[in-house]
Each structure stands twice: as C-alpha cells, then as structure tokens.
C-alpha cells in the first residue's frame, strides 16, 4: 500500500497534508460561524445596525425633530406624540431617533483618526526603538497623564467648538492608547525570525514595517479599534452633555439630556428615552467588541 518515495513524500503523506489544509480551512470557517452564532456579537451588531439605519432614514418617517410647538410643550406620551414632547414642544420620538446621527458621525471618524495616527506611531516606535521610541513614548505619557474628558474640556473651551474640532480632539487624545497597543504588538513581532530573515535580505525598514509586520498585527488593531469606538461614543456623548460638543438645536442625545434634565421631575420622558437610546447604542458597540474578543481568543 505504501510505497516509500525517496526520502520525501509518500502517497499517504500527500493525502494527510491535503487533509491538514482542509482542516485549517474548516477551522477558519468555524470562526466566522462562531461569530454569527455568538449572541453577544449578534445583539450588538443588530443594535448598531439599527441605529445606523435610524440615523440615515428616521426623518423619512417621523415628524420633524426641529418643529417647535409652543402650544404643546412637555406633553406626556400620547397618540399624537408617541414619546411625548419636550420643553419646546418638539416630538421626542423624532428627536430621539435622529439623535443617533451626531454620535455616529463623530465617534467613528475620531476612532479612525486615532487608529491611523496610533498605528503609525506604534509601528515607528516599536520598530526603531532607541531614542525615537523614548522621546515619543514620553510625549505619549504626557498626553495620557490627564483624563481625556478633562483635557477635552480645556481645549474645547479655550480653542473653540465645532464638530470638526471635537473629532480631532477625541482622535488625538485616543492616539496614545492605540499607539501603545500597536507598539507592544510590534515589539513582539519584531523578535520573530521572519523579521530577521527579511533583514538578512537587505529589506528597507519601511518594507519590514508595512509588508512584514503590519499584516500580522491586524487582529489586535481591529480589536483595539472596536474598543476605542466604544470609548469614543462614550466620550462624544459626555462632551455634548457637558456642553462642549454640539450646540442646540441638534437632537444629539447628550445635549438633549443636559438641556431637558431641568424638567426631569415634571417630564421624565424627555430625558429617559434619549438616555435609553444612548445606552443601547453604547452597549451594542461593546457587545460587538466582547464577541470579537471571545471568538479571537479561542
């Protein structure tokens, strides 16, 4: 049955190698299926997708979030206004559903900015080490020495507010954490023998960083990205609550809660529904992160 074929392959070995390859492919598909079957991941994804749809299309089927109605202020939920009206008579349902827009613009863009800058810095400091690493990481430590909210307040109050500035501020302030994660991943990969082999070929530094190391650290970057996204949503909402983000009459949730909280004893609906909406989005993002983390770690 088995005829030895020189000092190399036998028919059986060839077969077993093919089986091994098939096995690997099966395992990878299993990962995707595991993701799809993970309840946390699916619930999180559904929530986020729902809010994305709302942000895009809610105004097509709700009343206008901006129509001021001085006659019907602070009305309890009724047939005309399913979730009631706020202190300016605006429909709470419309405002709640539209409120997703601002967060879903600010947070992802800020996260993207942080990922781009953080990955670049992490790659450079992790790869070169030495003085560059020391200096840059020291600067990073300085940025990390202050809580994000505090620094944001400082900057936004003194340097002006606009959506763009908020995005840049959050992105810049999140960069240090991303760069730390990327840096440690790079430090690990750097010691691997395939990196040494590429240096022995005379590969340029940028090649090693971009083509050899980067493709192997995408997993931690993705996970870090979703984690940062969660924090970004959190921070953006907090900043608009404190009054340092968007301005009225935006239906932004944080802003709404901040302005309507004075009426909380009279009209709880003006505050609760935006609160629940925000909570569901944030929890959704973090369930995605948790699901991803679980599946990757198996």
């Amino acid at each position: 049955m088995a005829e030895p074929v020189a000092a190399g392959r036998t028919a059986a070995e060839i077969q077993s190698n093919a089986d091994a390859a098939l096995e690997q492919r099966r395992q990878r598909r299993y990962l995707v299926h595991a993701l799809l079957r993970s309840p946390t991941f699916m619930i999180g994804t559904s929530s986020v997708v729902l809010w994305i749809l709302m942000a895009l299309f809610s105004t097509w089927f709700t009343q206008s979030p901006f129509d001021v109605n001085p006659m019907d202020t602070l009305q309890a939920p009724s047939a005309a206004h399913w979730l009631g009206t706020d202190d300016l008579g605006r429909d709470v349902l419309a405002r709640t559903l539209a409120g997703a827009r601002s967060v879903l613009i600010v947070a992802p863009l800020a996260t993207l900015l942080a990922l781009l800058m953080g990955t670049t810095i992490g790659l450079i400091t992790g790869f070169y080490r030495g003085i560059t690493d020391e200096v840059i990481m020291r600067l990073v430590d300085v940025l990390l020495a202050l809580p994000v909210v505090i620094t944001s307040i400082l900057i936004l109050s003194l340097l002006g507010q606009s959506v763009a500035i908020v995005i840049v501020v959050i992105g810049v302030l999140f960069t240090p954490l991303v760069s730390r994660t990327v840096r440690s991943a790079v430090l690990r990969e750097r010691e691997r023998e395939y990196v040494m082999a590429s240096r022995l070929r005379g590969e340029r530094s940028w090649f090693v960083m971009a083509r050899e190391i980067l493709p192997n650290i995408t997993a931690p970057i993705i996970v870090e990205g979703t984690v940062r996204l969660g924090y970004a949503v959190f921070t953006a909402a907090t900043l608009s609550f404190l009054g340092f983000g968007l301005q009225p009459p935006s239906p932004d949730w944080g802003l709404t809660i901040a302005s309507e909280r004075l009426f909380v004893q009279l009209a709880w609906w003006t505050v609760i529904f935006p609160a629940i909406a925000l909570a569901s989005l944030v929890v959704g993002v973090n369930l995605i992160t948790d699901g991803l983390g679980r599946v990757f770690s198996k």
């Binding site: 049955m1 088995a2 030895p4 074929v5 020189a6 000092a7 190399g8 392959r9 036998t10 059986a12 070995e13 060839i14 077993s16 190698n17 089986d19 091994a20 390859a21 096995e23 690997q24 395992q27 299993y30 691997r192 023998e193 395939y194 040494m196 082999a197 590429s198 240096r199 022995l200 070929r201 005379g202 590969e203 050899e212 493709p215 192997n216 198996k298």
Partner: protein
Amino acid sequence: MSDVVNEGIGQTGAPQAAAVDVRDLEVTFHRRGRDLPVLRGVSLRIAAGEAYGLVGESGCGKTTLALAVLRYLAANGTVDRGDILVDGRDVSTLSEEELRKWRGEAVAMVYQDPATALSPAMRIGDQVAEVFRFHQGLNKTAAREGARESLRKVALPDPEATLRRYPFELSGGQQQRVVIAMALAANPRLLILDEPTTGLDATVEAEILDLIEELRGRINAAILLITHNLGLVARLCERVGVLYAGRLVEEGPAREIFTDPRHPYTMGLLRCVPRFGMNKSDAALQTIPGTLPALGEALQGCVYSARCPMAQPVCVRREPDLHAWPGDGGPRARAEAEAAPADPAAWSPHHASPVGEGLRHARCYFSAEVPDMPATTPVLSAPGAVEEGRAGDVLEIDTVRRSFRDGRKKLVAVHDVSLNLKRGETFGLVGESGSGKTTLAKCITGLIAADSGTVSFEGKRLKPTAGRRSQAALRAIQMVFQNPDSTLNPAWSTRAILTRAVRKLDGGSGSSVRAKVDELAADVRVEPRFLLQKPMDLSGGQKQRIAIARAFAGDPTLVVCDEPASALDVSVQASILNLLVELQASEAVSYIFISHDLAVVRYLSDRIGVMYLAELIEVGSAEEVFNPPHHPYTEALLSSIPTLDLDDSHERIPLRGSMPSLSDPPSGCRFHTRCHRILGDICVEQEPPLQEAVTGHTYKCHIPPDELLRAQTEVDPLAESIST
C-alpha cells in the same frame, strides 16, 4: 544503569499491587465540535519500584496518559473506556476529597520547564512547605523543617538560603530540583516525569538524571518517564513502551528493545538518530517517510502502516495484536488475519491488551523481519573533498566582541572570538545556554553589530550590520533559524516568501524568478501545491524546508544554521539534516552549524568549536575535539550525553557549581569555578594560553597537551576511546 529486570507480580516476596495498571484506556478530546481520539486502547503496567519509559513523538498521547492517570485531563478530554488503577485503587472511583489527598501522596508529577512550574510570587520555602502543611497536617515550623530536609535531599546547596528565595532567583537546574523535591515530599508511590530535562542544558540535564538515579535508591516510588529522548530512557528505565498514534506498538525490557527492536517504528526511531561517532560521510540518516498523523486522524489497520517500509496488504486489513516476542506474532497471526473478515478500522478494543505470555510484546505481523528492514534513504556516497584549487578561507572572524546592557549590568556575550572557515566546510559550534553561540551567529550574519573586531568574507571586511552590506554579501551569507513556526511570515503565501527572496537575492524578474522558485522548492522536496498555501498549513518539517530554500535563494556561500532541527520531532530531524548534507554536496556551501545536540554536531561537522561563557575555548576537527586530549569542559560535556549505547560505561564527570553569570565572569580561566582538572591558583589568576595539541587543534587551558592526554586516558585503562 540498573540491571534489574522486571519480575512481574508475585515473584519476589509478598505480592505487591502494581504501581500503575492501565487497562484498555481510551481518551478523546473534543475540540471545536470535533471528537479527536488521542489514546486508543492502551494497556500497560508498572510494577512497584520499577522505572518505565514511555517514548513517542508529539501527538502520540504520552502526556495525555499521564494526565489521565492523575485525573487531570482538561475539561474537553474524556476517558471513554478503560480503567486506571494506581496501587490497586481505581482512580475514577475517588471522590473529590480523596482525589486531592491522593494526589501528592500516591502520585506526583514533574514536567518540563521548571520556571513556569513554580509560583512566581511565593518563596520556595513556602511552596515546598505547603505540601507538608496540607498533606500531613504539620504546623508551620514542622513544615518548614520538612521543606528544608526535602531541599537537602535533592542536593541543593545551602537549603536554608534557598528557602527564602523566589523561583526567578534560581537557575533552571536548581528550579527543577525544587520541583522534584516538592513532588517527593509526600512520598508518592508513583512519580511521573514528563520531559523533565527538555530545555535544560546538557550538563544540567546530566545532573538532574544523576539525582533521579540516586533518589531511586532511596525512595520506593515507581517511575514513569515520558520522553521522546531514547537516551534518557536507556539510562534510567528498566522497561520501555513505545507509543505511536495513541497505540502501544512495542513494549519490553529497555536493553532488549534498544538492541533488538521488533517493530518497524522503533527500528525507524533508532536509525534516524545519529549515533555518537557517526559522521555524514559514513552514511545518511535513515528517515521515516511521511509525517506524524494529526491528532484524531483516521487510520486504517496498523496505525503505522502508512509510513512503514515493510507494510503489506494484511497490515491494513486487520490491525495486529500486541503479540509476545518471541511468540505467535508471525505467520500464524497473518494467516488468522487473512482468514478473518476484513476489519480495517483501527483500534478495536479487543486489540488493546497484550496477547501471549512474555517479557516483551510487539504489534507487528513481521517482527521477525524487522532487523532486515530495508533502508528508506539511499546511503550517500561520501562527498568528495573540496577541490584544492577552490579551498581557501571563506570566512574570517577576528577578535569579535559584543556586549549587552541589562539595566545597569554589562553582559559580555561574545569575548574575543576568532575563527576561520573554509569553503565547503561545516563548522559546528557547540555550547550551552549563555555561551554566546547565537550572538556570534548574529554578528556574523549582521543581525547584530559586533562592538569590536572584524568579520571578513573572502578576504573583504564586512560591514557590521546587514543593512549596510552589499547585495553580494547578503546573497552570500544567509541563515536558517530555529523555530519553524516563526521563521516564515504567517501572512504571506509560501510562494510569495520564496519569490521575494529570489527577487531580492538573486535578481531577475518574471519568468526567471518563477522558474527559480520552482527549482528551489524541488531541491528541498516540497510539492508545488504547497507553495500556494500559507505557512500555517504546512507541517514543521515542511516549513523548515522552505526556510532552507529561502536561504539558498541567492546561491549562498555560507549558511549559518542555528539549531535548525531542534524544534522538530526526531523522525523529521533526520530528513532535514540529510537535506542539509545533500545541499552542501551539490552547492558547495559552507555551514556554521549551531546545536546543543552533540551527536548531531558530530554527525554533520568537519570542524568543531566549543564555546563557554562567551569564549571559544576549543577548536579542531570533529575527531580531534571529541577525543582526548581536549578541553576539560568538552570532556565533561561529552560525558553528560545520555547515550543509547548501553555498553558504553564511560564515567560521568559532574561539573561543580552552575554556569557563572555573563555580567561577572570568573577571573583567570573562566572555567576554573567548575573544572574537575583545576591545577590551582594559576587557573584562578592567569588567563590560560592557547595550547595546540596538533596543527589546527587548539584549546585554552593551562594544562599542556601531553599531560592532558595522559590524564584523560588513564582513568579507565580498559575503556575504549569515546569515538567508537
């Protein structure tokens, strides 16, 4: 080695329950939705006080067996069938509380990598005392006293001070002694050792083995030694069991099994390990074709039939029983198998237990023919000596020095090393951990810049770092690394890896590159279809072959091989070593071959250099270095190898103390703190000169060659020289 042969139950004095009695054990792992059978119908018995060696390669299930005995299988492992009796008690019937008491008292385990086996944040004394406190209910003081006594029993210097230390403050050898002390603290009936010396230096390994041998005399525990290293088993164990794909294929007294194997797998294993003294010009290593079966892979008939050079249709038709040898395993069994209905599913339960009375058993229909097993690899003709015209120094290293900073300490990793390498020559570099061989290799290839000294290639000085070297230099000097799992970029396809190497090192474009890649793959015997896959889909051996192909992409003149086969299974190692020899003959490359495995180095090398604590303390031809006169360190190193040659009764030379730290090397001769031939103050105060035994064989020592020769050969006038 003890000559006690197993006498079985009931023959000497009062019948004692076997230390371990495993019957028909079947263990399955459930992983990612699949059921992977790991152990299939294994039966074995270890008598009280006996040492039994369980050998096999990765994935054969030997560690699983040990964990099953301890009832410590992972949550996804189940014992589907079979019984395990330890000291007469069925392990599966123990309650949680009984199990806890029983662990440590009846069975204890020592395994690989002692550094991780000890709790890092707890003092040694506390950890060892725990056993006494919780098993024997002693109070703190008594437990501490017990701990001290345990440490003393394992020959740890200064037990009192050690009690207060933390694990990271001890060396690897000392850590393993502590682990052994803890295991023996409660006087177990069975001691399981799972690869206890893998990862330890050769001399440390020898010390630990000495310790175990000595302890056997004093304790009455049976020993189950699990390892892939046949030499260890030969040294310590009375009986041996060979495990393949979860099935016991041969069993019996160690001496007989190793001198007269009766199963093709055992014979294959013995043939693929270079025996001490073998050289590549004598014969190629006999490899075992094929690869180890994957975990849970479905096999037909005899589990080894797919790779067996003697396989016949009857082997697939019905799995052979574990027949006694000599016994009914031959023609009669074959006839029965032919007559009975075909039963190709392997591992039918009734095939588990040994059949027939006898001291040894083998699971093969052709046991009688095993000694005549055909060679699987054609014996190489001796590669011709390099033509004189082309001979000449290819590499010249002059007084290279390299140090590292660790916090405030300065570690000199390579101290004034000089050596020459000729074209087509293999230079073996040996040394233990911390000797500096890997650092030296990195200085040569340019991965690390030497602090001082020069590295010259074909007469021209090389820039210290690879990044500054010319294309020609990069092409000419390449490296093969140790770890097959990280030597290839996991994100690239194999083809891309080789293509890039060819482009960068060989030049050319398009079709010429493609052709070269195909040629390289063929040279290293990797099928073209594997080029399309990612490294993670390849086996360890295949990955290493690709790594070798990559190194040869630019037709190098020198390839530095840093432990290229150490991370591979024994049967795969042989094929990689053969490949390296073959490529050397066809491409006329020189090798610097680094390894801790002396037999392998002896096999491959023309010349050998021995490094100790950052210095090159001896250089010479393989023959010269491995025979007296040679440096006392080399002498001790050679004596510490556990050999398969059971008639070899050379004296073990234990080294005193442990390896000094690189940040604070000893004065005078660096080896004087451990040397068994220390002359006196001269060794402590003065740096030893370079002695020359014969032209080309030099060593650093105060003892001149003729005295050394006399001293090293007089010990046992009847002993033959070690090179036989």
